[in-house]
């Protein structure tokens, strides 16, 4: 056989093989199985996922393994403040110490607790409200849709940060209220994402089939509409955790988040702002930790979006 013909035959064989495999794959695997396989090939998403797991484990187990004077985030050695305060990063204090000699590394680790807690709880709250509102608006349409969409319009017309600040000024600064304020602002986007997906899912024949079989509205929404529209919400929620963490940091930075002595990244950056000329490590490390954590959620969200092949627009 001539070389070019041989090459061509090989190519055809390969293509046929790939097509067979693809057809086979389509038969046996599910959307989520496929997505998981594609996701596992995305190195950046895996790195992001690994970092999130590490952060969660560190935050959960901080009390157990962090040495005593690292472990107590409120630790103040009143006898000897002058000697231990404002220390630049060293082996003993890898991130340096602050005004009263507290170790920045241990405070950063404990700050992760607040950030992850707020990120996950606020997104969870927004998911519950957003899913219900989005499902109602998308599925029923008409007047229900119009009312819910106008409400989201009102929420979205507000300048985001200002609204969160005003809410906290009313509610008073505390961990619970930060979660509430961020959740109240975040549900509108989730509702809109779900609504627009449902609008297209609803047109499918299997929905008419379910209705013809006599299924109730609730059953159609829960069994047929939601499972087919949830992918975009999953992608959106992953990224929303990242932005909730950023919002928490911003609110703490403005003094409206959790209150001292509980450490949070935003507050530590705010403490560091006054001394950036003499002790830049104070602002640098908590901010870097925040950046890496949010970046992990962004990369994972990007990876999920590509893996699930959804378009996130709102």
């Amino acid at each position: 056989m001539l070389p070019w013909a041989k090459k061509r035959a090989e190519r055809i064989e390969k293509a046929a093989d790939a097509a067979a495999r693809a057809a086979n794959a389509g038969k046996t695997r599910t959307l989520w199985g496929d997505a998981l396989k594609r996701l596992s090939k995305n190195k950046l998403a895996i790195i992001g996922f690994a970092w999130i797991i590490v952060m969660v484990l560190i935050a959960l187990s901080a009390d157990l393994w962090v040495p005593q004077n690292f472990g107590d985030p409120t630790f103040i050695d009143t006898g000897n403040v002058a000697a231990i305060s404002w220390q630049p990063p060293s082996l003993e204090h890898p991130f340096g110490t602050d005004r009263v000699g507290r170790d920045i590394l241990s405070r950063t680790i404990y700050g992760a607790r607040v950030s992850l807690l707020v990120g996950i709880c606020a997104t969870g709250f927004a998911l519950i409200v957003g899913l219900i509102m989005g499902a109602l608006a998308g599925y029923f349409g008409g007047l229900v849709d119009a009312i819910i969409m106008r409400v989201t319009d009102i929420f979205m017309a507000f300048p985001y940060t200002l609204f969160a600040i005003a809410l906290l000024a009313v509610l008073g600064p505390s961990l619970m209220n930060v979660i509430l304020a961020i959740g109240i602002l975040a549900w509108t986007s989730i509702a809109r994402v779900l609504r627009s997906t449902i609008l297209s899912v609803k047109e499918n024949d299997y929905i008419s089939a379910a209705r013809a079989l006599g299924a109730s509205n609730l059953r159609i929404i829960v069994r047929h509409v939601l499972p087919n529209s949830i992918a975009s919400v999953v992608v959106y929620a992953t990224m929303a955790i990242g932005s909730a963490i950023l919002s928490e940091a911003a609110l703490s930075f403005l003094g409206l988040g959790v209150q001292p002595p509980t450490p949070s990244w935003g507050m530590m950056i705010s403490d560091g702002q006054a001394v950036i000329a003499t002790a830049p490590w104070m602002a640098f490390f908590p901010g870097a930790a925040c950046l890496l954590t949010v970046l992990s959620f962004t990369l994972m969200g990007d990876g999920l979006r590509d893996a699930l092949d959804v378009k996130v627009t709102d």
Binding site: I154, I165, A169, V170, I269, P280, A283, G287
Partner: protein, 326 residues
């Protein structure tokens, strides 16, 4: 086109009423006595003065009536007076707004230049080193706490460089210039503008890249290549024109957000803009400033978004002639 504009303007009304109602509800449940805030801490005015204050601010009226009084003043262009500064709210914002506008314009310029360039380059050289670098850089930028980025810029360009060069070549780290500043005024804009633009330019680059990649697959691009046009001519004359539309929309909406005040950037750089003014008013419970400021911002944002949509329809005949279904 005409009916479209009218419909959009009519859509403002429920949103506007909702926003003012919500703000009013917040004001009503916030702790603190407005009379106390107007007279100031520690002063004990006579009964007549107290009654005068209550009378002037309609504080003896039920809440729904107070709301109607406020809306009536608002529609006559009166945003009320600050509790603590003893000045009309409108005057305060007329003072502060130019700083916000100038900062927003500088930030938009940074966003357009860097964002578009990065997006176009990474789309044309897809999967190249530059493309991967842009993708990574935009991910980092959107994941960054803005205020932290501002602080890091201050540490590097304001302090570290000053130390290394013995005082030369550094950038000012706060304020908007003025008689006491050692630096020419325009230098004061550089760091805040870059900080404010950072997140937006990342989004601009991402949208530009994905739009250009999508357009490059269109039939008319293949036709243009088939006519024998060079790659540069195809991209500039055919692809960019169409890919730019969503990018321009994003930049327009982003500009309106920036005009709404950049609280974090303004706080980090002690910038005398409206975002910082409203933030300070919230912490001091000076509600006339908060209400007036947020209402002003909401109106500005809505008007600019409308203008963006209209210009969008004017520029792109496909939108003008297609039936809108939103």
């Amino acid at each position: 086109m005409g009916t479209y504009i009218i419909r959009r303007v009519l859509q403002f009304i429920p949103v506007f009423i909702g926003v003012t109602l919500l703000l009013f509800a917040l004001k009503a449940i916030v702790p603190g006595d407005p009379v106390r805030m107007i007279i100031g801490e520690g002063r004990q005015p006579s009964q007549a003065v107290l009654e005068q204050i209550i009378e002037n601010n309609h504080l003896d009226r039920p809440l729904p009536e107070q709301y109607l009084y406020y809306m009536n003043d608002l529609l006559h262009g009166d945003l009320g007076s600050s509790y603590q500064k003893n000045r009309p709210v409108l005057d305060i914002f007329v003072d502060k707004f130019p700083y916000t506008v100038r900062l927003a314009l500088c930030a938009i310029a940074v966003e357009i230049v860097i964002g578009l360039a990065a997006g176009i380059i990474s789309a044309i050289k897809r999967y190249s080193f530059l493309d991967i670098l842009t993708t990574l850089a935009t991910s980092v930028l959107v994941s960054m706490p803005v205020f932290w980025f501002g602080l890091m810029l201050q540490i590097f360009f304001g302090i570290a460089i000053k130390d290394w060069t013995g005082g030369a070549l550094s950038l000012p780290i706060s304020g908007a210039g003025g008689p006491v500043s050692n630096y020419p005024t325009f230098l004061h804009y550089i760091l805040p503008a870059v900080t404010l633009a950072a997140v937006s330019l990342a989004y601009t680059a991402r949208i530009m890249r994905s739009q250009l990649l999508e357009v490059m697959n269109a039939d008319y691009i293949r036709t243009a290549f088939a006519k024998g046009l060079s790659k540069g001519a195809v991209i500039v004359k055919h692809a960019l024109k169409n890919a730019m539309i969503p990018v321009v929309t994003f930049i327009g909406i982003d500009f309106s957000t920036m005009l709404g005040g950049a609280i974090l950037t303004e706080t980090v750089f002690s910038w005398p803009g409206i975002g910082r003014e409203i933030y300070l008013a919230i912490t001091q419970r000076d509600w006339p400033i908060v209400l007036g400021g947020v209402i002003l911002i909401v109106v500005i944002v809505m008007v600019i978004n409308l203008l963006v949509d209209i210009s969008y329809a004017l520029l792109d005949p496909r939108i003008r002639y297609s039936k809108r279904t939103d």
